[in-house]
């Protein structure tokens, strides 16, 4: 059993049980999501481990990661703040909203904050044009959606996430 399998043994067994044994490779997407849960990216080791579990070539697993935009093979921010700036959203002020967020975070588009918490990026349609400005936060194995946003409300979301990280760090220190 490889490292990734050992780390998430229960979850992996549950996922694999959903597919017939000869169609193991169908589990590639759920396993990739699982690998991305802790640090929001899929490491080369996790890639190799998933390939081994599913009896696929590493190249084929990597190809799935490459195809889907919500899988990442680069270690960036713990939270990815993804703002739609397509035309309908732009008409509702998404561009200025995005610029304001970048300014507040002190990074440019695609950049990561120095504390490693946030990566901010422009994305294509999030399917909520009528409630723009809209963004989603991907991290901690979840995707959360925020609609009808202003810079102020978005910053509250960011502050809450930052607070969560601080609390976690404190409780870790306390435990140690």
């Amino acid at each position: 059993m490889n490292a990734f399998h050992a780390k998430y043994q229960t979850e992996i067994e549950q996922i694999l049980a959903k597919y017939p044994p000869e169609r193991k490779r169908s589990a590639v997407m759920p396993l990739l999501f699982l690998a991305q849960r802790d640090d929001n990216y899929i490491s080369p080791n996790e890639l190799a481990d998933i390939a081994e579990i599913l009896e696929m070539s590493v190249t084929d697993v990597a190809s799935v990661v490459g195809f889907y935009t919500l899988f990442y093979d680069q270690h960036e921010g713990r939270y990815r703040i993804q703002v739609c700036t397509d035309l309908p959203c732009a008409l509702r002020g998404a561009e200025t909203f995005f610029e304001a967020l970048c300014k507040e975070l002190g990074v440019s588009s695609g950049g990561t904050t120095p504390d490693g918490l946030f990566t901010i990026e422009e994305v294509k349609c999030l399917a909520a044009c009528h409630r723009a400005p809209v963004f989603q936060v991907q991290g901690d194995g979840e995707i959360a959606y925020y609609e009808n946003q202003t810079a102020e409300t978005a910053l509250q979301v960011i502050a809450a996430l930052r607070e969560k990280a601080v609390q976690e760090a404190r409780s870790r220190e306390g435990a140690a």
Binding site: T59, A62, F67
Partner: protein
């Protein structure tokens, strides 16, 4: 035969089997539909859109189900509102295809324009330029000008090594996925894939080592642009400078047909040199593929280490002399030795060489010995594939048994052909002591213990236990092909295995049948030809050599192979060696005669499937060396036998007259060709790739003796191998074959495949290694029967069975068969 379908393509009426794709039907009728992603050896994907055509089908009245007729009583044809991809549509009755209407030509022009928006058009520096489908089709169909902005062109990496053998130019890639599909569908080693999508899509490999496949070079042939190039040929020459010379690969007994591309060049002093090896189509042998060893391993022929003049031993050692002086001495000593002459030939020699050597040896009354660690050729001569056999025809209802062979390592293209037969439904049985790359395609797998191959075969024949089902499949199979190899085996063991396998074939009444028979996976390309010319392996080779009045060694290096043979050669009365290189044996010789390489002369090889195939000279031989058959003829003339020494073709006439199996053969017959499908390598290189069409001969398959001489028998004076006893403290050594070994014919290609070559190492199960007290990567000294090998690295592999040590052949570990060896930690000499 499948039902025939008649359709019309550009006013031409074409009849083809049901299921044929429109693009292929057109190709058969001589109408070229341009393609990029479609390849006749692979499933269509319809990705590139280049093959768009107008498709019309007969109108059918929905109420009656009857065809609608026009005023003339002809079926009315309804054309699709849009163009369709001809590579994804099977033909149907009454279909009308138009490939050259303004709409279709417009589509071709637009697709080319699209493809070129992200193509660098760097043809002047591109290796593919001159044989490039994109270049050709752009000239034929392209718009000449682009409406897209130059600044929007993709700028991507141009020298991406996909491993050290193949380079990718991302800018040139048009994303047709031919390389990905080849690795996936044909080889089933999916080490290439797409990454990202849309305009960001790219080819990637994540395997370790990168692009991990023995067939990687083929992707450069079928790449329709200059995106994939080999490390060997990139920036080496322009295609239009190259001449094509038909040849046969010398690396293994498959006998792949190849084309040697040569050119004259200044940097080689104005000489003709081989620039690359390309596959030449022979659907009966290698189709349009070759393995990477065959593609990159030819450099030995042009090595600077070659012997260029005869040498004779004098006081100061071996000194260069004239041919006359050397041959005078050989003549004198041969006359003295007479019947005490022992000729030892290697399986690298051509049939013509072997025949002349045999004639001279027979004339003197000497012995004709074959240097091989795989035996059983007599059984293959008798029960080999029936004339007219083609592994490409095996499929549902047929059975293939592979025993004691890691086929992908020993003969990659056979591995590919067997795998493809299994894909088509043939029942594949793999009997081997450890898992191999053939197991995934096997219907029946049996891993026996090393040394128990005969028992395993016996259990299969008897249908015992878990092999009952396999035995039934074997019994009921229409055709049966048996491959036997040398996994963990030596001469005596392979001979015994061949006998048992032959018995299995003969007992089932399949001897001599087309598409049935026995195939030995030899370590040299022409071992079977050597058997045919009368050479036989000798169990006590050391005894035969040490007792010889004169040992005449051709294309073999016994001294380099084993210390016992080296010692035996010292006892020989006189030693004559003819070879390409100053091997260890040659260094001991009294006379050394320089031989020509296969690129410099002509001749024939007999493949493991008993196909006699012809190779042609590609480059001029350096002054000095002679073809082995010429050397033998010159020697023959001096000792009183007249042989053909001027031309290989006339030697073949002599062979045909005196070797019954070769009766009626001549070079014209061997050079005959017939139409092959798919049609490749002509003007329309976009269709099948840059591999070569075969104009120089498909070869002639020999009829097995079981057919020509039904009452004949096989007699072999070789003792059955005794089971190996492993004493306390020793371990069972099993010699195994690695494709990239350090043999004479591969080592000069080191700069290309060096990183993948088998090292001086042995492989063990980790528990066995621990029991013996050695960790992975530790260095040991091996002590075998009469030899030691030091500085050998321990490697571990969990898949290996316990209590056995796998030693790759040709890496400096002299084991010739299974033996008990002792391991000692390598003690470095204390510094003085």
């Amino acid at each position: 035969m499948a039902n025939q379908v008649t359709l019309t393509i550009d006013d031409l009426t074409v009849t083809v089997p049901e299921g044929t794709l429109v693009v292929d039907a057109a190709r058969k009728a001589g109408i070229d539909i341009p393609v990029f992603c479609y390849h006749p050896k692979m499933e269509p994907v319809g990705m590139c859109r280049m093959c768009l055509v107008q498709v019309g089908r007969p109108m059918v009245d929905r109420a009656t189900g009857q065809p609608v007729l026009d005023a003339d009583g002809q079926p009315k044809i309804q054309f699709s509102p849009k163009l369709e991809t001809s590579c994804t549509i099977p033909v149907s009755e009454g279909m009308v295809i138009r490939t050259n209407t303004p709409e279709v030509l417009r589509a071709h022009r637009d697709i080319i324009e699209f493809l070129l928006t992200s193509h660098p058009l760097d043809c002047p520096i591109c290796d593919k330029g001159g044989e490039c489908p994109l270049q050709d089709l752009t000239r034929a169909y392209g718009p000449g000008q682009s409406r897209f902005l130059l600044d929007d062109k993709m700028r991507l990496a141009k020298h991406v090594p996909l491993g050290e053998l193949i380079y990718l130019d991302r800018e040139r890639c048009i994303l047709c996925a031919r390389c990905i599909r080849f690795q996936d569908e044909i080889v089933d080693e999916p080490v290439l894939s797409f990454y990202h999508r849309g305009r960001s899509m790219q080819i990637v490999t994540y395997s370790d080592p990168p692009f991990d496949s023995y067939f990687s070079g083929n992707t450069t042939d079928i790449c329709p642009v200059g995106a994939l190039t080999t490390a060997d040929f990139r920036f080496a020459a322009r295609p239009w400078e190259l001449k094509n010379n038909a040849s046969i690969c010398t690396q293994c007994p498959v006998g792949c047909n190849t084309t040697l591309n040569t050119r004259r060049e200044v940097k080689s002093g104005g000489k003709w040199v081989v620039k690359r090896v390309m596959p030449r189509q022979n659907e009966l042998v290698n189709e349009i593929w070759i393995c990477d060893k065959g593609r990159f391993g030819y450099h030995y022929a042009e090595s600077g280490e070659r012997i260029l003049s005869p040498h004779v031993r004098k006081e100061q050692g071996l000194v260069p002399v004239s041919w006359d002086e050397a041959l005078d001495l050989v003549e004198q000593r041969l006359r003295q030795a007479g019947a005490g002459t022992v000729t030892l030939a290697g399986g690298r020699l051509a049939n013509e060489d072997l025949f002349n050597l045999a004639q001279v040896t027979d004339h003197l009354g000497g012995r004709k010995l074959l240097h091989t660690q795989v035996g059983g050729g007599e059984y293959v001569q008798r029960y080999g594939l029936g004339k007219g056999s083609n592994l490409g025809e095996l499929g549902k209802g047929d059975a293939i048994l592979v025993i004691a062979s890691d086929l992908q390592e020993e003969a990659p293209v056979w591995w590919l052909r067997v795998k493809r037969a299994a894909d088509r439904g043939a029942a594949l049985m793999v009997l081997n002591p450890r898992p191999t790359r053939l197991d995934p395609y096997a219907r029946f797998i049996h891993h026996y213990r090393y040394g128990e191959e005969l028992e395993a075969l016996g259990r299969l024949a008897a249908g015992e236990g878990e092999l009952a089902e396999a035995a039934e499949a074997l019994r009921s199979a229409e055709n049966l092909v048996i491959f036997y190899g040398s996994e963990g085996l030596g001469l005596a063991e392979t001979t015994a295995l061949a006998r048992e396998a032959a018995g299995l074939l003969a007992g089932s009444g399949r001897a001599g049948k087309v598409n049935s028979g026995l195939i030995g996976v030899w370590q040299q390309n022409n071992t079977l030809g050597a058997y045919d010319m009368g050479f036989r392996p000798e169990a006590d080779l050391a005894g035969a050599l040490s007792g010889s009045g004169l040992a005449w060694i051709a294309a073999a290096d016994p001294a380099g192979d084993h210390p016992a043979l080296e010692a035996a050669l010292k006892q020989a009365g006189f030693l004559v060696v003819q070879d390409l290189f100053m091997t260890r044996t040659a260094q001991m010789a009294d006379v050394v005669l320089p031989a020509q390489a296969f690129t410099e002369r002509e001749g024939t090889f007999t493949s493991g499937e008993r196909r006699v195939q012809r190779f042609y000279p590609a480059v001029a031989a350096p002054p000095g060396p002679l073809a082995d058959f010429s050397i033998a003829a010159r020697v023959g003339l001096r000792v009183g036998i007249e042989l053909e020494g001027a031309s290989a073709a006339t030697v073949m006439l002599r062979i045909a007259a005196s070797v019954p199996a070769y009766a009626g053969l001549d070079y014209a017959l061997i050079s005959e060709v017939s139409e092959q499908w798919p049609i490749i390598g002509r003007e329309d290189r976009y269709y099948g790739g840059t591999g070569y069409d075969n104009h120089q001969g498909l070869g002639v398959q020999l009829q097995p003796d079981a057919v020509t001489d039904p009452d004949g028998e096989v007699s072999i004076a070789m003792a059955a191998p005794a089971p190996l006893q492993v004493p306390e403290g020793a371990v069972y050594l099993a010699p195994v074959t690695r494709l990239y070994d350090q043999g004479l014919t591969l080592k000069p290609s080191m700069k290309i495949v060096g990183q993948r070559m088998a090292r001086r190492e042995v492989w063990l199960n980790p528990e066995t290694a621990a029991r013996l007290g050695f960790g992975a990567a530790s260095l040991v000294t091996l002590e075998g029967e009469g030899w030691t090998a030091s500085g050998v690295e321990i490697r571990v592999d969990e898949q290996l069975p316990p209590d056995v040590l796998l030693a790759p052949r040709s890496v400096g570990i002299p084991a010739t068969g299974p033996e008990a060896v002792r391991l000692r930690p390598l003690v470095t000499e204390p510094e003085a």
